[in-house]
């Protein structure tokens, strides 16, 4: 019986408990995956086309929506591209606040990825624990920005809210809680022999393949490539902060999970530094601050809530091109904004980490078992809307 007759074509998704908004077309021979092609595009909204009909400031909520669990990275990358075109640099305090929100977002984005991966290999406890322990960080973000996930916190020239009083103490409590829980996570899930059996040696990505396929984020670093945009091209407050780039060597599902867990610990270290070293000062660039009527400016300082200058409604960005990149939770976000001096960008290219990691589905599942498909899918922390945009 030739290979064609033996193989069964299995359509995993988009209506499937563990496929997300995409379809995996898997050709399987018995329990072995012969070939798997991801079929994406189910939640494609063409953010790049919409951006060409929206004004510059209106694009901020638009670019955040695709990667809902990690919105700060897209928001920050887009605004950094605008600031390069506008030729302005945000005040120091605003840079520290951007870093603070980016790291809080990284922690609960990693917890989101770990939780989804947990339920994909069967551990509903890992899922419930991770999603439960995300809550304190969503509360922190809600207190700082006013929203739980869709912050739109970063605007050209600075940020929209100042640090509430007593935020550092509450943040310290949330961090101590997560640190205290880590031992139980390791006992019940990460060191669980069944988890190790399901993840170790599964979906191995060699260092050469990781580089050849151009993947990014924890999936890249788990194969031994020490590339992190926060070190390669430091932005916001990262030049002044001391942190390590987390890497593992094996490049299998377990290594990817371990990179995310250790990155949570690293983000905790960063948050503590930011909250300790954050300088005083304005949180909006003075060229915009002086456009605000004095009475509102006083109130702004006193309430810590930034008022937009009316020019923001029709922000005009000088003609030119800007490329910016940011290390999001799932990997490197690259923005390429081309402006022709009008109210809307001429062309905005947004490359998200999941779109660069989608090639791994084909590569890692060749020869794997059917039960390895969800294990590999979850370990990539892949988010379909982020890949489709």
């Amino acid at each position: 019986m030739s290979l064609e007759e033996r193989t069964l074509e299995l359509l995993i998704g988009p209506q499937h408990p563990a496929s997300g908004h995409m379809r995996l077309v898997a050709k399987i021979d018995g329990d072995i995956v012969v070939e798997l092609r991801p079929n994406i595009g189910y939640v494609h909204r063409s953010v790049e086309k919409l951006a060409e009909v929206k004004k510059f400031l209106q694009i901020i909520p638009l670019v955040e929506r695709p990667s809902l669990a990690d919105t700060t990275a897209n928001n920050l990358a887009y605004v950094m591209a605008l600031e390069k075109l506008l030729g302005i640099d945000p005040p120091e305090r605003a840079k520290y606040l951007r870093t603070l929100l980016a790291e809080i977002n990284r922690i609960h984005s990693h917890l989101y990825g770990l939780g989804i991966h947990g339920v994909m290999i069967g551990s509903s406890t890992a899922y419930m624990w991770c999603f439960g322990d995300r809550e304190p960080f969503l509360e922190l973000a809600q207190e700082l920005t006013g929203a739980r996930l869709t912050y739109s916190y970063i605007i050209p020239g600075g940020v929209r809210r100042d640090l509430p009083k007593g935020f550092a103490e509450r943040a310290e409590k949330a961090i101590k809680y997560l640190e205290g829980r880590m031992k139980d996570y390791f006992d019940i899930y990460f060191n669980n022999p069944v988890v190790k059996a399901r993840l170790e040696g599964v979906g191995v990505l060699s260092k050469e393949d990781a580089i050849k396929l151009g993947v990014t984020g924890p999936n890249l670093r788990a194969s031994g490539v020490a590339y992190d945009v926060r070190r390669a091209e430091p932005y916001a407050a990262y030049p002044h902060l001391d942190f390590d780039v987390i890497t593992e060597e094996e490049g299998d599902c377990y290594a990817r999970v371990m990179v995310r867990v250790r990155e949570i610990m690293e983000s905790i270290k960063i948050i503590r530094q930011v909250l300790k070293e954050i300088p005083e000062g304005p949180i909006l660039h003075e060229s915009y601050e002086k456009l605000i009527p004095p009475k509102l400016r006083e109130e702004m300082k006193q309430r810590g809530v930034v008022k937009f200058p009316s020019v923001f409604a029709n922000l005009r960005v000088p003609a030119g091109e800007a490329i910016s990149r940011v290390e999001g939770g799932r990997g490197e976000v690259v923005f390429h904004v081309i402006s022709d001096g009008k109210l809307s960008p001429y062309r905005m290219r947004m490359v998200t980490p999941s779109f660069r990691n989608v090639i791994l589905f084909e590569h890692l599942t060749r020869g794997a078992r059917v039960a390895d498909i969800p294990a590999i899918y979850g370990s990539l922390d892949y988010f379909p809307p982020e890949a489709d945009r």
């Binding site: 069964l8 299995l10 499937h16 408990p17 563990a18 329990d31 947990g118 339920v119 994909m120 290999i121 069967g122 551990s123 509903s124 406890t125 890992a126 419930m128 624990w129 439960g132 019940i188 669980n192 069944v194 988890v195 059996a197 399901r198 078992r369 059917v370 039960a371 390895d372 498909i373 969800p374």
Partner: protein
């Protein structure tokens, strides 16, 4: 003999009332609720709550049962109707069969034979056949894969279970459950042959696809395995069958290793039966608790455990029993 006395005749009472239909059904309702509550508590949440709130939603399963009863069971167009509809009935019905042979006190048993252990285990092996038929009848790729996985699992747990049971039968020099239970008056089987006890416990959880062996209906891989196309009461029957099988195997396990009804305060069948039921309940509850601790194995790993670990261990446990016998440990009448 009026109807009441007839009811209390052992050959009616055991299969129908105590360890049989009604007790199993009540245990089924409680254990599904308990599983969700245990998993909820370990996962920092409450679980079912709003049905009879003061008691923590204890009749949630009854509410689910009513929902299943009134839900329309959707029968897909090109499905093998006869097999599709009958297999759940057989699966649920035959899951009770081994209960007829299980004694609950030295004098009170429905049917006694000197091969009762073999009969009980043999009847317990009927279930997987219907899962296979169910998978084929649903005409769905995921069901097919799920049922083939069940087939693989059967090959890897059925034999070691029999061998472990055999090792205890060798120790007690009898295949009759009543004699086995009576022989453990002084010391339980688990202390004599712990290898067989541990091995058989793991195999019981493998045979009823409890975590970490929840492989045939692995939700994140093959939707619901053989039960994908089922809905309404036929799904309810199928879901309940695996718990009944776990209950039956736990009863057999309690008799073999945990001394059956021993240290029962009085020879009255209800009391000694209660002790046996309690032990079985604890085993079933522990199976439910495992859902909150473990992810699931891959099918090749489970078969690997069955052949490379469980099978040699069951041979070893037979060896241990033989050594104990030769060493002069004697039981029996």
């Amino acid at each position: 003999m009026n109807i009441i006395d007839l009811l209390f005749q052992p050959y009616i009472f055991i299969p129908l009332v105590f360890p049989g239909l009604i007790a199993a059904f009540v245990l089924l309702l409680i254990i599904i609720w308990l599983e969700r509550k245990i998993a909820a508590k370990v996962q920092l949440r409450y679980g079912p709550l709003y049905v009879l709130k003061p008691l923590g939603g204890v009749i949630q399963t009854i509410a689910d049962l009513l929902r299943y009863l009134f839900q329309e069971p959707i029968i897909p167009k090109d499905v093998d109707k006869v097999a599709f509809l009958l297999t759940p009935v057989f699966l649920f019905g035959l899951a009770y069969l081994p209960l007829v042979i299980i004694p609950i006190s030295p004098t009170y048993y429905a049917f006694r034979s000197d091969l009762s252990l073999l009969i009980a285990l043999a009847l317990a092996t009927l279930a997987p056949i219907f899962t296979l038929i169910m998978g084929w009848a649903s005409n769905n790729k995921f069901s097919l894969i799920g049922s083939v996985r069940e087939g693989y699992l059967v090959t890897s747990y059925e034999m070691p279970i029999f061998l472990s049971a055999l090792s205890m039968a060798v120790l007690y020099n009898s295949l009759d459950l009543v004699e086995i239970a009576e022989a453990q008056r002084k010391i339980w089987g688990v202390f004599l042959n712990p290898v067989a006890a541990a091995n058989m416990l793991v195999l019981i959880y493998m045979s009823t696809s409890k975590f970490p062996f929840e492989i045939p209906e692995a939700e994140s891989e093959i939707v619901a395995g053989p039960y994908t196309e089922y809905s309404g009461i036929i799904y309810g029957l199928v879901m309940g069958a695996s718990y009944i099988k776990l209950y039956v195997l736990s009863l057999i396990y309690s008799i073999l290793f945990l001394g059956g009804w021993n240290p029962s305060p009085s020879p009255d069948p209800l009391i000694s039966g209660g002790v046996l039921f309690l032990k079985a309940f604890i085993l079933v509850a522990f199976g439910a608790f495992l859902r909150a601790v473990y992810p699931r194995f891959r099918i090749d790993q489970a078969v690997n455990i069955g052949w490379r670990i469980a099978f040699p261990l069951s041979l070893l446990s037979i060896l241990i029993s033989l050594i104990l016998i030769l060493g002069g440990v004697s039981f029996g009448s």
